[in-house]
Symmetry: C2
Subunit: 455 residues, 2 copies
């Protein structure tokens, strides 16, 4: 039994031995090493081997196991490996790959390689792949697997189990069996649990769950993920516009979707652009391209702060000590605004906050802003006391802090909600964008208060 | 068949009708409305009803259905409902709740209420609950359900199926059947798929998967989520220190964990403190408490910017135009730094970036920093040209931009890696923290370059 305390592969310490056995061509001993390990345990040690060693292992392994390991590899490594193994292994892997993983791979391959691979594959698998490639990669259709357990709606439980025994081996999941009418439309679903519990003579129609939850082929994957996590199903059927089942999406694919979507949201919140497919392998220039867009927008907006500074240069010249507190006040506002925008953006993503709550949110953030503002205002006022002997200067710094924090939390919470309202992704209201917007308001507030109190 | 285009409940339009039927006590008609709907569809319309109406529905529904709906409700609503329904419904709900959900609820209840509920519950369920309450709520033990399908290792496939038929009804999942030795230690696992495919006379020992992946009861839930998403299992067995199985964690619990953990990371990246259990229902003061901690740390660090400004006040006094570009330069640095820290923190969380990649990351971010710096430097220089006639001032602004961006992306990428190295959560290196640190360096760079070029 293996008990993990860290996510590491228990095979890792065996890498030197594996390398030695490979060098000595002791293939039978090699095979023994991998018995009883999960494919997920192989991925990491595999990365320590060179391409030729990997290719040897893949031709050695049982094809089911080899494909399971293959499916866990990074796409770049998959491509390299496919080009390194002998032709028969290549064909076997391509044919055995689960259709959704195959499509994920084919989508990034050059066209020439796709047609070369399709031409050596089994006719049926090739056709299926071509069908799947037609769907958008981030839609339900692009994520689904077209292989699932199904029966016609006229059969009995016993007949269903018999059908399952014939087809189960090649299926990713058999825990839900979909019941189709003669037009291939989904009329219900039964679980394997129900089948095992039921009398074999019972008609499927009698025990099936009618009115199953489905997703349309063109639904965005983010929405699909929300659906599946709402219902806690192992799989969801994907249907076309007249209700014919085209495939299923399983929970493990959707865990990947949730992670991808959360990554996208975090990148947006950090104004870091589109996440690269593989950060470490990406060319810095391709990353620069994504980040530059936001930095460009932000610097343009930032130019406004320069204009504000110019506008109030008279105030600044008369009371130069004001400049000492500019960085601090800008930071305080930016930080409070970033907090509020983070909370609202994440709340909208998880569904905890809804558009209809807009007033509730604004009132709450306003109350939070006042409380935080008073606390931080007291601190910055104390800092001002240490710096200057002028009580009106202390008041300027303290009052600006309060006003800035209130305005920042309010702006930080309202703007994402406004985005949602207008149909944009609220996550574009990133920390840096809110910070830049808030910087402008902070400066104006500061100079306005200063010009009233000090001059 | 229902096809969703948005995550909304198809029951929502029926709320007025439900309210009317409730008012008229037409309970049979009411029951008909809910036939064929998923519990997940009930949660939203339910929130439109008042407490008394809810309590009536819960006493009306079949207890299995009622508990499923109950499990999907927010904890605050669960508590209110339990106190609103009649005693027999209360007992039924408490007994029928799945053990992990019951524990989640009991963990936030006042002690007095816990003992009151335990005293009215079924003895067996009460004891089980007390056992589970001993585990940390965010550990594998605190997340698991102690009810799972199991057999002894001496039985056949046929005997296993027979056992399953008896126990399946009360189990959350029966797709994995755990095989225990006589000391209750886990010796293997079979899937329901294997059972259906195998000859009933086969010994379980012959087809079971030995050496199953397990998690220890005290493993942190974040780590458990990483394990399950690594292996794509529907459930993972939770074992104690001598390998006895104590419960299982299912994929749907882990989807919740992934979401929780991502929320925590986003809050950290936004320096927004600990996520509240329910943002909308939380008292503003309790939210203030969480946010204040970071704002306090950040304002203290921000005081350093004031000191830097004081130190260079001589430079500033001689060339007051310098102050106009302070906000812009601080923003540019903060934005570039936030981008880098977002990318590295998320990379570390998903496992895409590892500690050993530190030099690769630093080199990459340095290259990115130089490229971005030159682009942004050109823009800020142009802005300076519009503002001042002094070429050395242009150079100061342009060069500061380049240097600031390079330093910011490097700091933004190195600090999270350093945190990971020292065993802290890299997500504490939030955008606001990096921004504040980078602000200090930007100011120093600016004044240093200015004092060399301009004075």
């Amino acid at each position: 039994m293996r008990i993990y305390t860290k996510a590491y592969s228990p095979l890792l310490p065996l890498v030197p031995e594996i390398k030695e056995l490979l060098a000595q061509h002791r293939f039978n001993d090699l095979k023994k090493i991998f018995v009883d390990f999960e494919p997920a345990d192989i991925a990491e040690p595999l990365s320590k081997l060179d391409l030729k060693e990997k290719a040897t292992l893949f031709s050695l392994w049982d094809i089911d196991f080899a494909t399971d390991v293959f499916e866990l590899m990074e796409i770049e490594d998959q491509i390299a490996l496919l080009n390194a193994v002998d032709k028969s292994t290549r064909i076997e892997i391509l044919d055995e790959l689960s259709p959704d993983d195959r499509v994920d791979l084919f989508e990034v391959l050059p066209e020439e390689m796709v047609s070369r691979f399709l031409s050596i594959m089994d006719k049926k698998e090739a056709k299926e792949t071509e069908e799947l490639l037609k769907y958008e990669s981030d839609s339900a259709g692009g994520r689904m697997t077209p292989e699932f357990a199904w029966v016609r709606d006229g059969v009995t439980v016993g007949q269903t189990l018999k059908t399952l025994r014939k087809t189960a081996k090649s299926l990713e999941t058999v825990y839900y069996i979909y019941v189709l009418d003669k037009y291939d439309r989904l009329s219900g679903v039964v679980t394997l649990k129900q089948l095992v519990l039921a009398d074999p003579r019972t008609r499927i129609k009698k025990i099936m769950h009618r009115n199953p939850v489905t997703v349309p082929v063109d639904m965005d994957q983010e929405q699909v993920a929300k659906e599946i996590s709402r219902y806690d199903f192992i799989a969801l059927p994907v249907v076309d516009y007249i209700g014919r089942i085209k495939g299923i999406i399983t929970f493990d694919d959707l865990m990947d979707v949730i992670k991808e979507e959360d990554t996208e949201d975090m990148y947006k919140l950090g104004a870091a652009g589109k996440p690269p497919d593989d950060y470490l392998a990406s060319n810095p220039l391709s990353i620069v391209k994504h980040r530059m867009i936001w930095l460009f927008v932000l610097i343009m907006l930032g130019f406004v702060t320069g204009t504000v500074m110019e506008l109030y240069s008279g105030v600044l010249a008369k009371f130069i000590a004001l400049s000492v507190f500019i960085p601090l006040l800008m930071e305080v506002g930016g930080n409070a605004g970033t907090q509020a925008t983070t909370v609202v953006v994440r709340g909208l993503a998880t569904g905890e906050v809804k558009l209809k709550d807009i007033w509730k949110v604004v009132k709450k953030e306003f109350a939070i802003g006042i409380t935080l503002g008073i606390g931080l205002g007291a601190l910055s006022l104390m800092r001002a006391v240490f710096f200057q002997k002028e009580p009106l200067f202390w008041a300027t710094v303290g009052l600006t802090t309060i006003a800035t924090v209130v305005v920042s939390t309010t702006i930080g919470s309202v703007l994402p909600l406004l985005c949602e309202k207008l149909g944009f992704d609220p996550a574009v209201m990133s920390g840096p964008l809110i910070t830049t917007i808030v910087d402008i308001t902070s400066l104006v507030i500061y100079f306005e208060i200063a010009s009233h109190l000090l001059i």
